[in-house]
Symmetry: C2
Subunit: 188 residues, 2 copies
């Protein structure tokens, strides 16, 4: 009978990220991750389909969260503000996971396959947001352009958040990046 392992998901994720950082993603085995976490391989596969899944399991939840926020925004809000507010609302999640996020990003940046998977996740996020904007009555190309501008803002905010030690509030960085996008688009 399977023992109940308290906090197994997080222990496995922590162990995996540490090992990916120490040895490289390719060089790490699931057996090593399970061992470092004090758990079995079988437990690993109860939580994650494979090694990359440890890095990308949060992407689906993030997408749902953003889409829901876009759906619930007031009708009167301009589309870019709807998307920016949704991105700002992720700060509660990200602000608590700054070290995890930085470590995760370093692993992804070091591996071309993981970088490609990250790109695909972000493209899927942009499509889902654009689709939700269309349901709110935003036409094309505005829906697609707004969603892609939103993802560009998210990436700029995220990069600054993990690379500048003094930056702790993700929401403020989203707002700064949006202001920068507005200036850029206006031809400043």
């Amino acid at each position: 009978m399977a023992r109940w392992e308290p906090n197994a998901h997080d222990r496995l994720q922590r162990a995996a990220l540490d090992l990916y950082g120490e040895r490289g993603f390719e060089q790490t085995t699931v057996a090593e991750i399970a061992k470092r976490a004090g758990l079995t391989e079988r437990t690993f596969f109860r939580y994650f389909a494979d090694k990359p899944e440890v890095l990308f399991s949060g992407a689906g939840a993030l997408q749902e969260f953003l889409v829901e926020h876009v759906a619930e925004a007031p009708d009167s809000a301009p589309p870019i503000e709807v998307v920016a507010s949704a991105l700002e609302a992720t700060a509660g999640y990200f602000n608590e996971r700054r070290e995890f996020s930085a470590q995760r990003q370093a692993v992804i940046d070091a591996n071309v396959d993981l970088r490609e998977r990250e790109l695909i996740k972000l493209a899927s996020l942009a499509s889902a947001i654009a689709e939700q904007l269309r349901r709110r009555g935003v036409g094309d190309p505005a829906a697609a352009l707004t969603a892609e501008a939103g993802i560009a803002v998210f990436k700029a905010a995220f990069e600054r958040w993990i690379s500048e030690p003094g930056q702790h509030d993700f929401a403020k960085l989203v707002r700064d990046a949006l202001d920068e996008l507005k200036a850029v688009a206006a031809g400043a």
Copy 2:
């Protein structure tokens, strides 16, 4: 001795696109492409490394062209105008290849691996443009945001160009998409 085959590159590309469209990308073999073009497999591999290369061989030239235009723009031009002008300048290329481009896009849209490869090419294009903007003295995040906004504009223009039968001038569609982006960013 290898015979010189006039226009072999274009004949192979034409035959490949027709077959990808008729049978699907996966179901088409290099032998079939060569046969349809009246050439040998060996000739195919003189021009293309593999089946996807038929669809993506132009991406490198497009990237070089755009980066060069960004490099040569007047110093006084705002970054978003520099990128928009470079995109408009591709119209000479695209306007002559509307049918080819539409056929190529249909093949890509129908295959998840090709869609991913296209995403990766566009991300690489955005990085190359951002890098060239930095060389012109544009800081970050403005350089990255401008390049990504430019790619969003390019995609919006391209989609309209191949999906709306009345649209023949790619440059005009780039300008329209840029105006739309400006309106979106301003919160219209």
